[in-house]
């Protein structure tokens, strides 16, 4: 539930000082944009942009059986993770519906889970209800701040040493602008980049230093608008738009995060059945004509027959045309097919295209698989 008074991150005053237009997002007052979504979006794709993502929930999970517990509530297999590795995961209910998507970070102290802002309280309740007595789930959201520095030049422009030793989805302790941080090579834009976790009291210094250091190269602070556009180009799913508790991982195209063979976990039985029978719906990518911006919830049809709805849609300033994700009947559309989407009260033509719409500079050993959530 969204509290009546939205929360503010430790960077709130800086957002205002930078001209940020603040909006309510998942119960937090966050900048939609500072200068313009277009400029911020292009900065992320061409140089680097700096996002405040402190609104995302952060939980520390510790205790003797922390790993067994994490294995029992998440879809992916965390047993292969070494200290300093992170992994994209889904948390599902018994029916296989997606409660949330998250990133699990494995360290010597246990696990850190980074979850969607809008789901923080729900997730915390779910985790605590399922945790055995020797596992503690602490909400660390308010002590730690999180910023994301994303773009092809992020490594070169981040004021930190020796970043080359951090692999994709790896993390370690280190200093950013002289401030003790945890630096991970993760993100939600499809670009190379880092997420930097620091104590809330010090995040202002880190924020200022990154912007100052990158200013002449074209680094910009970037808001939710640029974040949504870049994640959609990279076809990274957004919980609440592209998936929710009524959608299973196979429908969302996230079957690769489900490890049925790892042992029992919540939702496994239901997911086994979905996999055996094949999902009934699937998420597809659409490219539309300039000006035809498909909005969340718009009807999608093919050959005059309704087959699904738009889950996310925007105009891509980078690609120069509108793009969208649609949840449609399985096998109703193939890449190269044409569909009709309701835009401004009439059906417009959309081409089914391969996902992602754009593959950025994000490094990956298993390029096709690793991705991350919002």
């Amino acid at each position: 539930m969204t509290p009546s008074a939205p929360q503010r991150t430790p960077l709130y005053d800086r957002h205002l000082a930078l001209g940020g237009r603040m909006v309510d997002f998942g119960g937090w007052e966050m900048p939609q944009q500072y200068s313009s979504i277009r400029d911020e979006h292009l900065a992320v794709r061409k140089v680097a942009g700096l996002f405040d993502v402190s609104h995302m929930g952060r939980f520390r999970v510790t205790g003797d059986s922390a790993q067994a517990f994490i294995q029992s509530v998440l879809s992916n297999d965390v047993s292969s993770l070494i200290h300093g590795q992170a992994q994209y995961n889904l948390m599902c209910n018994e029916a296989g519906g997606i409660i949330d998507d998250l990133v699990a970070y494995r360290s010597e102290e246990g696990f850190l889970l980074v979850v969607n802002a809008s789901n923080r309280e729900k997730d915390l309740e779910w985790l605590r209800a399922h945790a055995p007595a020797d596992v503690s789930v602490e909400d660390r959201t308010f002590e730690l701040a999180l910023v994301a520095f994303q773009g092809p030049d992020a490594e070169r422009l981040l004021p930190a040493e020796g970043l080359d030793d951090i692999p994709y989805f790896g993390f370690r302790r280190g200093e950013v602008a002289g401030v003790s941080s945890v630096i991970s090579r993760t993100g939600y834009t499809g670009e190379d980049g880092f997420e930097i976790m620091v104590k809330s009291d010090h995040v202002g210094d880190v924020w200022d230093a990154i912007l100052e250091h990158g200013r002449s190269a074209g680094v910009l602070p970037a808001g939710l608008g640029a974040r949504d556009a870049t994640r959609l180009e990279a076809a990274l799913r957004l919980w609440g738009n592209d998936m929710d508790e009524t959608v299973n991982p196979y429908e969302a195209g996230l079957g690769w995060t489900v490890k049925l063979g790892k042992g029992d976990f919540t939702g496994r039985e239901a997911l086994q059945k979905v996999k055996a029978e094949g999902p009934r719906r699937s998420l597809v990518g659409l490219k539309l004509r300039p000006g035809d911006i498909a909005r969340h919830g718009a009807a999608v049809s093919a050959d005059g027959r309704p087959i699904g709805v738009i889950t996310s849609g925007t105009h891509s300033f980078f690609l120069g045309y509108p793009i969208a994700l649609a949840m449609v009947e399985a096998r109703s559309l193939q890449v190269g097919d044409n569909a009709s989407v309701e835009v401004r009260g009439r059906g417009v033509s959309a081409d089914v295209v391969k996902l992602p719409f754009y593959r950025g500079s994000a490094r990956s050993l298993s390029e096709k698989k690793e991705s991350r959530h919002g």
Partner: protein, 125 residues
């Protein structure tokens, strides 16, 4: 420069004799965010005051455009087809949308600068 008058739906109109120029206000563009597309009518079409004459698409939403005054469309800003961002960068100048040949009296409910300011302050709070 002719005086600008405003509507509660955040259009502006500048009247100069029998000619009127129409656009959306700075407040409107800032609320919409980056404009990416406009669906506009052709020159020659006749509009009554408060007619819907087009749609503006921003990254956030699609919004209808309403005619603040009645008239025949004399000119459509063709530059907006390739540069819709002019609406954001210069809403009262290069971001104008239509020029009309006025028909009849101006509607009595157009707002002056001070009245419009009150509307935006109420909307922003």
């Amino acid at each position: 420069m002719a005086d600008r008058r405003y509507t509660r739906t955040h259009e502006w109109v500048a009247v100069d004799g029998k000619h009127a120029t129409i656009g959306i206000t700075d407040f409107a563009q800032s609320q919409l965010g980056d404009v990416v597309f406009l669906e506009l009518p052709s020159a020659g079409r006749k509009l009554a005051a408060r007619d819907t004459f087009g749609v503006i698409e921003s990254v956030k939403a699609a919004s209808d455009l309403y005619a603040p005054v009645a008239g025949r469309i004399a000119e459509v800003n063709e530059k907006l087809a390739s540069k819709p961002e002019l609406i954001n960068s210069d809403p009262y100048g290069e971001g104008w949308i239509l020029k009309l040949e006025l028909a009849g009296e101006l509607p009595s409910d157009l707002l002056d600068e001070a009245e419009y300011k009150k509307v935006t302050e109420a909307a922003a709070s």
